[in-house]
């Protein structure tokens, strides 16, 4: 199924695709014992915190339903809410830019920064700017982007990639972080310990100079209120507020699905988001701004980059409800084993497995919808009730269709699935096939060669086959009557 006239996120720019399939990338991640230990420790901790603060709200189910309903209304009326947002932001002295995709967004932001003459910008943690590869685009134009969120700074200084939406350096432990600071920060005390307070202090000193020098800041946004044109950033460290207030020019890159109709709607999301993401009742810093304040220039870049194409699919569009809390990552047994890099996209975990292939089109990221056991833990914790397991099965069907349309001869899998269905749809054929199960599985047990064939090899490397049955259940049933 393709959606004509709806461009996806372009190739060659941004970070929505990996260079390997998920199973290949996962293999490397699984071999990294340190990574697995870091991930298991971190996700277990956040999981527990989330569960306890969610349990204390008697109306969590209602909040969740409200969050889903508000987002669905936004998605159904996105055109009018976006125009309203543009009008309000413009009335208050801000400038609104529309970016069809990553390439356009990067060009708009780069031109704006160039126009100020700045060579360095400070950044608030933002998924949208990572999605479009803004830092790389700025670097190509000779502009240095400094990440000011502690974990993003660790990732940036480590010449690394983020592996989690909320805690991008989740794959790093304290010792690794100290080593990165020592080698990359320049004037840091060589006796720096790996105590969290000491590491935070080193980052604070490093960042404070950047905040005071910067004339341009770039942010994303968690929400944008259409009725007043107000942008919101939700954060924990206060670095965001420094970026939003100190520099003369502020540029915000916002996915078009981030709009909410009214301030009343924020009441719902500002309860759902911190409890789901950091496991806190309330996040430490929530900043709001409307248009430009005196002496400051404000630009809002509204980013599509495959979102309209996602919106066009009735079975996939609820992925756009996502508020980037990352609760689904923290409960995902697959994510916990392999970490974020294996997904290839800045959006890892269950939400990434449904969002990335929709933003890029399923030809790219074709292995991601299969990177799940469909255990359903993600759907349970999602604060906006995105039915990720069902969406995964829908996207798998789109991947299979896409592959079939690209070749004349069916894949062996398709042929096999067809043959099985053909057998099972007819009771007489099915009964005959069942008679072969016993002898077939006895043959497999007897032959090491057979066990290494096709999909069986994947099974038998770590698992024994079940003992061959004496006969089918229906044989027993019929014999008894």
């Amino acid at each position: 199924m393709t959606f004509l006239g709806m461009p996806g996120a372009p190739t060659g720019v941004g970070q929505l695709r990996g260079d390997r399939s998920f199973p290949e990338a996962a293999r490397d991640a699984l071999a990294n014992g340190q990574l697995r230990a870091n991930l298991a420790h971190a996700t277990t901790t956040i999981r527990g915190k989330r569960a306890s603060v969610v349990a204390e709200l008697p109306d969590w189910a209602e909040l969740r339903a409200a969050g889903a309903a508000i987002k669905d209304d936004v998605l159904a009326n996105l055109d009018s809410y976006l125009l309203q947002l543009e009008e309000r932001v413009t009335e208050r002295g801000g400038h609104v830019h529309w970016a069809r995709d990553a390439t356009e967004a990067n060009r708009i932001v780069t031109d704006l920064v160039r126009g100020t003459g700045a060579r360095e910008v400070v950044k608030v943690k933002s998924m949208a700017t990572q999605e479009i590869g803004l830092n790389e685009a700025l670097a190509d134009a000779g502009i240095t982007a400094v990440e000011t969120d502690l974990a993003e700074l660790i990732v940036q200084l480590g010449h690394d990639r983020p592996s989690h939406i909320l805690v991008p350096a989740i794959h790093r432990n304290r010792g690794e972080i100290r080593d990165i600071f020592l080698s990359e920060m320049g004037d840091v005390d060589p006796a720096l310990s790996d105590e969290p307070a000491a590491l935070a202090e080193a980052a604070r000193r490093y960042l404070r100079r950047r905040f005071l020098q910067a004339s341009v800041a770039i942010s994303g946004g968690n929400f944008a209120v259409a009725e007043t044109g107000t942008l919101t950033v939700v954060e924990s460290e206060g670095n965001g507020r420094m970026c939003l207030t100190l520099p003369r020019t502020l540029i915000t890159v916002l996915g078009i699905e981030k709009v909410v109709p009214t301030w009343r709607d924020l009441e719902v999301f500002l309860q759902l988001l911190p409890r789901s993401s950091t496991g806190e009742r309330m996040n430490p810093y929530t900043s709001f701004w409307t248009g430009a304040v005196e002496g400051q220039e404000f630009h809002l870049v509204l980013l599509d980059n495959g979102r309209t194409a996602t919106l066009a699919d009735p079975h996939g569009r609820s992925a756009l409800r996502c508020i980037r809390c990352s609760a689904c990552l923290n409960v995902c047994p697959v994510y916990e084993r392999v970490g974020g890099h294996a997904y290839g996209s800045v959006y890892p975990g269950p939400i990434g497995a449904v969002l990335s292939p929709q933003l890029t089109g399923v030809t790219d990221n074709a292995s991601l919808p299969f990177a799940s056991t469909l255990c359903g833990a993600c759907y349970d914790v999602c604060p906006v009730a995105i039915d990720i397991p069902t969406m995964l099965t829908h996207l798998r069907a789109r991947v299979i269709e896409d592959k079939a349309s690209a070749r004349r001869v069916p894949t062996p899998e398709r042929a096999g699935m067809g043959a099985v269905a053909w057998t099972m749809r007819n009771p007489r054929r099915w009964r005959r096939a069942l008679r072969l199960v016993g002898p077939g599985s006895r043959a497999l047990r007897g032959s090491a060669l057979l066990r290494r064939l096709g999909p069986l090899a994947g099974w038998t490397r770590t698992r024994d086959l079940p003992p061959p049955p004496a006969g089918s259940f229906r044989d027993w049933w019929q014999a008894r009557r």
Binding site: C375, G376, M424
Partner: protein, 244 residues
């Protein structure tokens, strides 16, 4: 009142784990209920839906609906297959715009029960008169836990089994890593999850790992057997069917 109760054996039990089907029949008969096995049944089509082949699942859904028409209750020893009947069949009917099938699958879904649901909710029984003098730990399979929400029904049944020493399974709600074709498409990740589940089962000190799905048990059992630690798997139906 004569309820017509059908066993939905599931294709996996029919073909590979007949003892689970036999145990289900014996258990229900011991509780005084006559059951039938509609022989036209084959598979709910979940594997096809979950692997991306909904068109191939459609005739299986039609076959399922035809096989089970006319029964008052349909009981299956599988949380996963009942989950497919309750949730996926309607989606398939809608996807292919078959309004009549949509109505039929809803009617069937409303009368379909996973074994522990049927025992606890419909028959209102937790003590089924079973005897199983062993250390047992229970793995709540993902689909019985999160799709069907069977909650503690299986545990309530197991607690009433005479002689049974129920051991707590650490991190019980964690997926075992089976996931149907996931187990071969992402064999390494699946195996990593399995290794953790096998370790949890061992840590429980149980002799048997029990669950309500033969598919997950095939996976966990394959891992237990490979690690040669002597722990075996047993379906909930088999334990509940066991007597002195």
């Amino acid at each position: 009142m004569s309820m017509r109760v059908a066993i939905f054996a599931t294709c996996l039990v029919d073909g590979l784990f007949p003892d689970v089907g036999i145990a289900t029949v014996r258990l229900l008969e011991r509780l005084g209920h006559r059951v039938e096995f509609p022989t036209a049944q084959s598979c709910c089509g979940q594997m096809h839906v979950n692997t991306g082949y909904p068109a191939q699942a459609l005739p299986l859904v039609r076959n399922h609906v035809a096989a089970f028409a006319g029964y008052d209750a349909i009981v299956a020893p599988s949380g996963s297959c009942v989950g497919a009947v309750r949730h996926q069949h309607a989606e398939i009917a809608e996807r292919f715009g078959d309004g009549a099938l949509r109505a039929d699958v809803s009617a069937i879904a409303a009368r379909t029960y996973e074994l522990s649901e049927y025992l606890v909710d419909v028959l209102a029984v937790t003590d089924v008169g079973a005897y199983f003098p062993h250390r047992v730990t229970y793995h709540p399979t993902c689909h019985s836990l999160r799709v069907l929400r069977v909650g503690d029904r299986p545990l309530r049944l197991l607690r009433e089994v005479s002689g049974l020493d129920l051991r707590e399974l650490p991190s019980a709600d964690q997926c075992c890593g089976f996931g149907g074709t996931f187990a071969v498409k992402n064999a390494e990740v699946s195996s990593a999850m399995l290794a953790d589940k096998v370790a949890s089962v061992r840590a429980s000190g149980a002799e048997f790992c029990c669950a309500s799905d033969s598919s997950c048990l095939m996976h966990i059992g394959g891992g237990l057997s490979r690690s040669r630690n002597g722990v075996r798997t047993m379906h909930l139906a088999e334990i509940l069917a066991a007597t002195r």
